[in-house]
Structure formats: structure tokens, C-alpha cells
């Protein structure tokens, strides 16, 4: 090694940080074992870079509202307006008691908003990070984690609306609310898996984002979000939409206990089943496509 010159040079580099490197071995491996090892290394590297993920997500939110007066509180405000307007209109249309309907609607809409933005951001999580991906080696799951965390931060702003609605209508969550913690963890896992899955497909096939957007749009109407399954139970049709709908199961494990319902074993079983399938699929797709994403963006 040629030693840096003393004197002037040493003064100039005195601030510079020297970072110990770690050995990385990149194998072009067609076997699943090698692929899974590298995908797992990618995920653990993202965990190690957690402060970077956090800062990127915070900056994303701040960036969106840079120069605006209310800043990120527009998130809270626009959700509040939406919940209020739809709540008063639909409680009339559906002949519902507003003190029961509005709490139901506020949770449903806020959670659905999360699902909908996770899917749309997920499709673009790698393509939007093109500059970073092509400039340096960085774990790819970091871009997915950034999209998920950004949406969790948005969700945190919207939870205020639910809290206010609950306070106004004196809604009592049930004792089963302890299950909200594992339910939230399940949501984070699912959101990450969905983002990785859609991100990989959305990068390779540029037609995926609009297709996903229209599927999510349809799912919004056929899932009990604006309407309660009890409203349509007498028509028979709704049971298909409820029993076989993964969105319903995931919404219900959150919504049920909050609205004073008991622990819904059937919803939990379905939610865990669908989540396991999603995680396995996303893991396989990510392990398979990880090395190619840099070529696709």
C-alpha cells in the first residue's frame, strides 16, 4: 500500500471517515440454496441500515408536504373530511345508526387507505429508487422497507381520526383488543411481503402498476369496507365476498376487537393462512428476482 503523503494531505483527510469494509461474496447461483442465502443477507443488511430506512421514510413524508402550511397534518385532515362526508351520506343510504356506522367506517377507511397505498407504492418501490440502485451496492429490500415504513407513518397520522371518532361516539373496544398487537405485527409482515412481491413484478413488467391499481379499486367495493356484512347477510351474495376474501380477514382481526367484538378465531385462521401464503410467495419471488432487479430498473 502506498502511504498517504504527510503534511498537507494529512490535514485534508483529517475529517474523513474511514469505514471498515466487510467481505461480500456474490455468486451467480442458480440453486435455491444460494439464492435464499443471498436474499436473507439482503434482508438482514436492511435491518442493520435501519436508521437509513427511518430517515428516508421521514424525508419522503416531509418532502411531500414541503412548503405547505399544515404539513403532514393534511394527511389527518383529508382523512377526517373523507370519513365525515362518506359517514353522514352512507349512514343515510344504508339506514344505519351513525354512532355505530361512523366508528366502523373510520377504521375501515383508514386501514384500507394503508392497503391501497402499500400496493401502489409497492409496485414502484424499485423503479423509483433507480438512481440509488445503479449507483452503489445497497440491499434491495431497503427500498421496500422504506415504502412500508413511509406508509406506516401515514397510517399513524390517520389513527388520530379513529381516536377522535371513538371519543365522540363513546365506542368501547372489547377485551380482545390485546390481539391488536399481534395483528399489527402481522400487517407489517404482510405489507413488507406484498411490497417486495409487487416491487419485483412491477419492475420487470411495467404494466403491473395499473393492473394492480384497478384490482385494488375493485377489491375496495367488494370488500366490506363501506358496508358491513350484516347489512347484506339476508341477500346471500355477501357471504362469498366475506368468507373467501383475504382483505376481509385481515381487516376483521383489527376492526372486530376495536368495535367491541370478541376474538374472531375464523378471521384469525384465514388471516394467518393468507399471510403465510403471501410471505412464502414473496420470499420465493424475491430470492429468484433479487439479482436481476438492478438490470430491470
Amino acid at each position: 500500500m502506498i502511504a498517504p503523503e504527510q503534511g498537507q494531505a494529512a490535514v485534508e483527510v483529517s475529517h474523513t471517515a474511514s469505514v471498515p469494509g466487510r467481505a461480500v461474496t456474490i455468486m451467480a447461483s442458480r440453486g435455491w440454496r444460494g439464492r435464499l442465502t443471498l436474499a436473507a443477507a439482503d434482508l438482514s443488511e436492511t435491518l442493520r441500515l435501519w436508521p437509513l430506512v427511518w430517515t428516508l421514510s421521514m424525508l419522503d413524508i416531509r418532502l411531500r408536504y414541503r412548503g405547505s402550511l399544515l404539513g403532514p397534518f393534511w394527511l389527518t385532515l383529508s382523512t377526517a373530511v373523507m370519513v365525515g362526508a362518506i359517514g353522514f351520506l352512507y349512514s343515510r343510504l344504508f339506514h344505519q345508526n351513525i354512532s355505530a356506522y361512523l366508528p366502523f367506517l373510520s377504521i375501515s377507511l383508514v386501514l384500507w387507505n394503508f392497503i391501497s397505498t402499500v400496493t401502489s407504492d409497492g409496485c414502484l418501490c424499485f423503479t423509483q429508487a433507480e438512481g440509488m440502485i445503479r449507483a452503489m451496492r445497497m440491499p434491495l429490500s431497503l427500498h421496500a422497507a422504506r415504502a412500508v415504513l413511509r406508509n406506516i407513518l401515514v397510517l399513524a397520522h390517520n389513527i388520530v381520526v379513529i381516536a377522535v371518532v371513538f371519543a365522540v361516539f363513546h365506542t368501547q373496544p372489547s377485551l380482545a383488543s390485546f390481539s391488536l398487537l399481534p395483528a399489527a405485527a402481522l400487517w407489517v409482515v404482510d405489507a413488507t411481503a406484498l411490497t417486495l412481491l409487487l416491487g419485483a413484478f412491477g419492475t420487470r413488467f411495467r404494466d403491473i402498476p395499473p393492473i394492480v391499481a384497478s384490482v385494488v379499486q375493485i377489491a375496495f367495493y367488494i370488500t366490506p369496507i363501506m358496508w358491513n356484512p350484516a347489512m347484506l347477510a339476508h341477500r346471500g351474495l355477501s357471504m362469498v365476498l366475506v368468507t373467501w376474501n383475504p382483505f376481509y380477514a385481515l381487516l376483521e382481526i383489527m376492526r372486530g376487537p376495536l368495535l367491541g367484538g370478541p376474538l374472531d378465531a375464523a378471521a384469525w385462521t384465514a388471516a394467518l393462512g393468507y399471510s403465510a401464503a403471501l410471505v412464502l410467495l414473496a420470499g420465493a419471488v424475491f430470492a429468484r428476482t433479487r439479482a436481476r432487479i438492478a438490470y430491470w430498473v
Binding site: H15, S18, I26
Partner: protein
Amino acid sequence: MAKLLIENVSVRFPLYHGESRSLKKTVFAAASGRLGEDRKHRLVVEALRDVSFSLHTGDRLGFIGANGAGKTTLLRSMAGIYEPVCGRIVIDGAVTALLDANQGMNLEMTGRENIRLRGLFTGLNEPQIRQLQADVADFAGLDQFLELPVRTYSSGMIVRLGFALATAIKPQILLMDEWILAGDAAFMTKARHRLETMVRGAEILVLSSHNADVILRWCNRVIWMDGGQIKADGHPEDVLAAYLPPEQFAHAMAAAQDAA
């Protein structure tokens, strides 16, 4: 001790938009054998074909070759960005890759925020990040512009910020594409010293350049890339003598001796 091993590395770029049969034939005819088909009969560009070499502490490697010979792709593979379809790459040491002026900066964020992100990526703690911000601000001379989004910068300011940022963190392995040698004259005078300090400080240097006298001055080994393969690998003077026309080689030798 840093090391960088490249073993039988091949890189292929898929051409997803050239699927049509007739277009395929046209492109095949036009390109002299760089295009191929993979196992699934998709059209691919073979950017690197079975490239092997190894670098250890003290090595200063220069890449030469025509445009499109695979120099930048090879640098990207050595940085671990493009993972090869065959072969193995071992990177042992902290890598800085100066591949393009934007340096993966987020153009919507301010200069200060971009510096912070780089610091977090490198694993610096809070005081170190503040020091990094001060150092970069001082060197790039951007003053209050650091509080504005990078997209409002002129291209010269982006180069300055990118350069200051990239050179503020001392790497063990330094990969440089030639853009960094092509700044405006006033800034380059200031940048040259800092760059040379970093080049000397790095344990391994890899430089891709068309500038023969820079290669003669900085490198102790040269690889000549041609059509995605290594055409020659050896001492700078020997390889450059074969690569350049005689009068250009003599000129470069004279320029390198002047500078030294």
C-alpha cells in the same frame, strides 16, 4: 488487507423490448456477435464474457478500451451492483464507486439531507455525520445552496457536491469512471489534490479512462477490454503501447513524465 476477486464473470443484459422477430434479425445482423440468446431464447447483450482477474492491496488497475467494450459494466459488477449470470465476485473491503455524477443522490432532497443519507448508509454516527456535512459543505463551496433541493442545482454544482461527498469517505477500494476527471477547469485544480490524496490512500484503485497519461501516472496494471472480454492484461506501458497508435503513445508517455 483489501482484495477484489473476479472469477469467470459473465454479465448479460436482457433486451425485453426487442422481442419482435424481424427486429431481432436486424439487430443480429447489425451487431457483430455481441448479441446472443439465453437458454429461454430471449435476446441478450453479452456485456461481459468470462472475465477473470484478482486485485490485492497495492494494485492500481486501469481499464482501457473502446466505447461499449464493457468497462463501465465491469466497474458496476465490481461494485456489486450488477450481479453476474455466471462466475463469482469477492469484495473484501469498503468500496466507493464513483460511477456517475449523481452518485445516487435524491434530487428532490436538499444537499444537506443527501449528505446525511450517505453518512447513514456508511454507518456513521451523529457527530461523524455533522463532521461529514461540514467537510462536504466546505469543500463543495455550496454555502446556503446546501439547504435547497439538489434538483435546483446547476450541473456543475451537482458534480461538485457529488465529488465532495464521494471523496469525503475514505474507501479501501476505489472504483472510478472517467467522468470524475472531466470537471470544469477551476474546480478540477481544487479537486485534483483531494482526488490524488484519496487515490493514494485507497488500498485498491480501479480506474476506467480514455486518458492515457492519467493511466500511466496512476496505474501499475492495465486491462484492455474489447467486446466484453479481456484482450490484454499487464504492465501499463506494454498494454498501452499495443493499444494506442505509436505517436499517441509517445505523446502520453511524455505527458506522464512531465506530470511526474
